[in-house]
Symmetry: C2
Subunit: 414 residues, 2 copies
């Protein structure tokens, strides 16, 4: 199959492109490399060194004999989007190309507006291009479990049957997202559902949980094929961050009570889920939602798992003020059967998995910058003016906050 | 009270500003006059001549002794938004300042993207400015009943209690909007709900039905105080358009079966509802939704009411292909008790009301351009390139469509 991976330079986009390529698909990547620009903006780096895209692609050809095509450009540029589709003629598009950090979207007004415009306009341009060029293309869109928030009833996969005053309908599941980033994904979901309805497009919206791990069957074939691994306060996700904190001898930072429960999955399962979605396209006009995670854990449970697995002493930091506005103790039960029905065999979270992430952090411990693990991003503080760069991800040097905030913050991005 | 009316140059913004001013409030208007730019773009005009804003404001001072302040600028310009709030120091903000036409948003990709960026970014900037400058400001935001779509269960006011697998929660009412414009309002609703939650803002989201009529107690005080009246295929709304078609001797254009049922209200009730919302602000952190309409009618019923009222012969055009993708025969029952509970006494739709709109159209019949009543906007045709100007609202002269399309189209904007 011909598959276009949008955002193919990112944490999950790159290993997804490799995985689909190795399975014999013709793969092209589109990316504007803005994820690397965020690194420069925030003064952070992937824990694992990553190669430039052109080198990665050449290396992959050497290793696998498969060539991946590359389009460099921005989805908010409609002409670029149309050119990718006309030149590559994909049968499926896997769409990772969005700003994906909740804390980044909450830095200040400019970052909130950037996140929503970037994500919503990119996806709108894509929908128009698909509709105009080839409505049969299957759009596999990365959403997030965070679109649902934490309702006091079971979360279903995208839609819920509601009986109300004696009548019944199946309606879109109500959304209560917790950041301007999560909101951008909710906006996308509504736009995509509408485009499927009016233009007969077909789309799978993958409401993904928090991904952990870094190595896949393909990336381990050569160090130059590694994907990025973020542990900073803005882009790092919870389990990956806890492992780096353990190795760095820093307390594992749990927000508030730590009862925040989220769906989680292994990076290898992300790849398997996307492949299953691509292999089993929806019908013409169908908009379907899969909840893409395999297990649920609370933040405190994850901290304890890391603490139990790490051979050294690990402190679990307690009673830090939660910079987010979220429930810290709540009901959480979310359906996730549709991908299992398609044949997903999950990699469940084990000590072995955690050990492998810890080993990764050990291998690159000289690259750990303890100052970037904290984040200055506070949900309650509406900043309308530019934040000085050193206020994001790195406290101002010499400030009284400079030790405190580093330990204060954790991140549950998805 | 000090009240800032955003979009105070529009069909409803201007009479709202007058009404609130006459009731003794200190009123300021902000507008970028883009509504008049749309007229130039589409080659259409208000049926009723309208004055420039500065002349209207001077005239209002002569008539009433009350001065309305004016800020000229764009809500997507964050500095402008902050300046309005810092200089005027409003206690309430009534926010009409969005692109409000469904057909306009469906013209092509550029108009879809413009509508969503304009509406979403303007409102985001406003939320940040309120949070930073004065979180006590009450944001009264114009939404639309079209956010709900036409579910097969009763529509409630913003939220619905759902019992599911033995557990119960009150959740945001599921949204199924029918155009990129309606989607932009759904995006706004989610963003505003979140801002209230994290920053403690207070907001009333008025999900308004389709407004009819043009004269209010204030605008009738002088011809120079008239508000605009749109009958074209892009900005005209259904009942106003039917009245102009009747006077022009054109068939009343009903889409498809005409069973599309919508909430409606008199322009004078819009003003009363906004005043009630402003006088009864929500609590700190509260996001509430009022369904702002007084009666429901199907499009066919409205056509028949106009036909029955007009003294001359009126043809109701039948079996035109619906350019929209929407149900033409559906269940529709929507709650609208919250504004009644606050004391709203509705002006229900009567022959007298329809007669007054017909009389208005008679007075300005020399300004009716039959070519702009149709619209070339088709929901099913995804246009990625610029439409030539004459393809919007006005068929290409000499084309075989030029008589046909004029009669084909109707508009149910809200």
């Amino acid at each position: 199959m011909r598959i276009l991976v949008l955002g193919g330079d990112g944490y999950l986009g790159w290993p997804t492109a490799l995985h689909l390529s190795r399975r014999g698909n013709a793969v092209a990547i589109a990316d504007n490399f803005v994820r690397r620009q965020y690194d420069a903006e925030l003064g952070v780096d992937s824990l694992v060194p990553i190669s430039h895209m052109r080198r990665r692609i050449d290396l992959w050809e050497e290793v696998s004999g498969m060539r991946i095509d590359l389009f460099v450009g921005d989805l908010t540029d409609a002409e670029f989007v149309e050119r990718c589709l006309r030149e590559f003629r994909p049968e499926a598009i896997v769409h990772f190309a969005e700003q994906r950090s909740a804390p980044y979207s909450m830095i200040d007004r400019r970052h909130a507006v950037y996140t929503q415009v970037n994500n919503v306009v990119g996806t709108l341009n894509l929908l128009y291009a698909i509709a105009a060029i080839d409505p049969a293309i299957h759009l596999v869109k990365l959403g997030t479990m965070g679109e649902y928030g934490t309702p006091n009833i079971d979360i279903e996969e995208g839609f819920i049957e509601i009986t109300h005053r004696g009548r019944t309908d199946v309606l879109p599941y109500p959304k209560q997202p917790g950041s301007f980033y999560h909101l951008s994904k909710v906006h996308d979901s509504h736009n995509i559902m509408f485009a499927c309805k009016i233009w007969g497009l077909r789309s799978t919206d993958l409401n993904q949980g928090i991904v952990y791990g870094q190595e896949t069957d393909e990336t381990v074939l050569h160090p130059g094929l590694a994907t990025r691994f973020d542990y900073d306060g803005v882009f790092g996700t919870v389990l990956n961050r806890f492992c780096v904190q353990a190795v760095a001898g820093l307390p594992l930072t749990v927000y508030g009570k730590g009862g925040q429960t989220r769906g989680m999955l292994d990076i290898r399962d992300t790849l398997a889920c996307i492949e299953l979605a691509v292999q089993n396209p929806p019908a013409e006009g169908e908009y379907r939602v899969f909840n893409q995670f395999t297990e649920s854990y609370s933040v405190r449970q994850l901290a304890e798992l890391v603490s139990d697995t790490y051979p050294g002493r690990v402190e679990i930091a307690d009673s830090f003020e939660n910079p987010r506005v979220e429930q810290e103790d709540h009901y959480y039960r979310a359906a996730h059967t549709k991908l299992l029905d398609l044949g997903l065999v999950p990699h469940l979270l084990s000590s072995a998995t955690i050990s492998s992430i810890l080993a990764l952090a050990e291998r690159h411990r000289d690259r750990i910058d303890p100052n970037v693990i904290g984040t200055g991003v506070d949900w309650r503080r509406p900043k309308t003016v530019e934040s000085p760069v050193n206020a994001v991800g790195r406290p101002p040097s010499g400030s009284s906050e400079s030790r405190g905030r580093g330990a204060e913050i954790d991140s549950v991005n998805r």
